[in-house]
Amino acid sequence: MLRYAMALAIAVGIVAPAGATTLVRAGMEKLVAENSTIVVGDVVDANSYWNADGSFILTDVRLAVSQVLKGRPQDREIKITLMGGRVGDLTTLIIGGPELVPGRSYVLFLNNEDLPGVQGVTTVRDLVQGAFDLVLAKDGVRAVSQANSHPLLPDAKGYVDAPGGVEGMPLNAMIESIREQVERPRTDRPEVN
């Protein structure tokens, strides 16, 4: 298993090209503990715009929530604000930001943060590490971290691979694990890697 994990990490290091932003790996325990809201949902649309003082392009993403794993979103459709986007012929590219495409499904780890020109908005705090693509595999739906396309600095335990690795993890197992941690938080629970 360790050999597999190391091989996976090496493979990710070789083929994972994306990102200038420098991120320390966040394991599942950390993602669950440090984000206030965790949901499964489908992106309805995305709209980019200049913030109020015209200093930064932001993008509002509407997400139709199908499952709430942590937190209490007020509606079944929530707004997530991301830095970057495209307005006219100008694009602000956030290296290492999450990619949320209308029509696709995700597990998202969300928190209220200050972004340029706006305060306390719901965003994907951990950037690519906080977004998991839902993909259909032979054994069902799997959640694949977008951080597989981004190199990570080792966490305190020395892990560098994104939770689930390049193949991701079964969605149902991920949901069960998250709910268990939310309901009975423990510091000694092993990482879901």
Binding site: I57, P98, Q129
Partner: protein, 216 residues
């Protein structure tokens, strides 16, 4: 100057692409490509000869301002050294220079800014975040780098080394993606932080900048 007021700048000629392609090894530097409408995250990693082009400047002199708030104080020498590494690449005429201090933040204001802050989308597990502002034709018109003020930054060689990280991030600001070279000595554009070794550019890093300049 407000970001909305940038005038449209046409993309430069692609004539050198074919020649560059034949010279580039299969596992080497890669460039940042962003051609997807509305894409907000990292662009694709492509070869210098990719027909879709890549992010690039169409000016040679690029100046940077430092916001000295928080841990930005005392970092100008390390940042200047990182800039010099790219300026000194032979057969490439980009000149990166430190132009003094600013109170600007992580905003699209026509200034290339380096700053230390808590926020700007870089909290928690994020050490530093880079934004590229592109016009049509993937022309870079501004870049800003925000270092996470919640972690400790050093100029004496201990983690996290300001000069090494800055050299890497400045490489991205020039449109260069992570290299596929994994052997030692590791290029500065190697995907993961590896200490002060990232301060000095390797041939692979230099080739990336030379290739970009040849194409554009």
């Amino acid at each position: 100057m407000n970001g909305k007021n940038f005038s449209r700048i046409a993309a430069c000629a692609l004539a050198a692409a074919g020649m560059i392609a034949s010279a580039a090894p299969s596992h080497a530097y890669r460039m940042i490509q962003n051609t997807t409408v509305g894409r907000v995250s990292a662009g694709a990693a492509v070869t210098c000869s990719n027909t879709g082009g890549f992010a690039h400047w169409n000016i040679r002199s690029i100046s940077w301002l430092l916001n000295t708030a928080n841990q930005g104080s005392g970092k100008s020498a390390a940042l200047s050294a990182a800039m010099s590494s790219w300026t000194n690449v032979a057969n490439a005429n980009h000149v990166l220079s430190y132009a003094g201090t600013t109170t600007s933040g992580f905003s699209t204001d026509g200034r290339n800014t380096l700053l230390w802050a808590s926020g700007n989308g870089c909290t928690g597990s994020c050490l530093a975040i880079t934004a590229l502002v592109l016009q049509s034709g993937q022309v870079i018109v501004e870049t800003d780098i925000s270092f996470n003020n919640s972690v400790s930054w050093s100029t004496s060689g201990s983690d996290y080394d300001t000069q090494a990280v800055a050299a890497h991030e400045l490489g991205h600001s020039l449109g260069i993606h992570h290299t596929e070279v994994t052997s030692t000595p590791r290029p500065t554009m190697y995907a993961t932080y590896f200490g002060t070794g990232g301060r000095s550019l390797e041939v692979d890093d230099q080739s990336a900048l030379q290739c970009s300049e040849s194409r554009y």
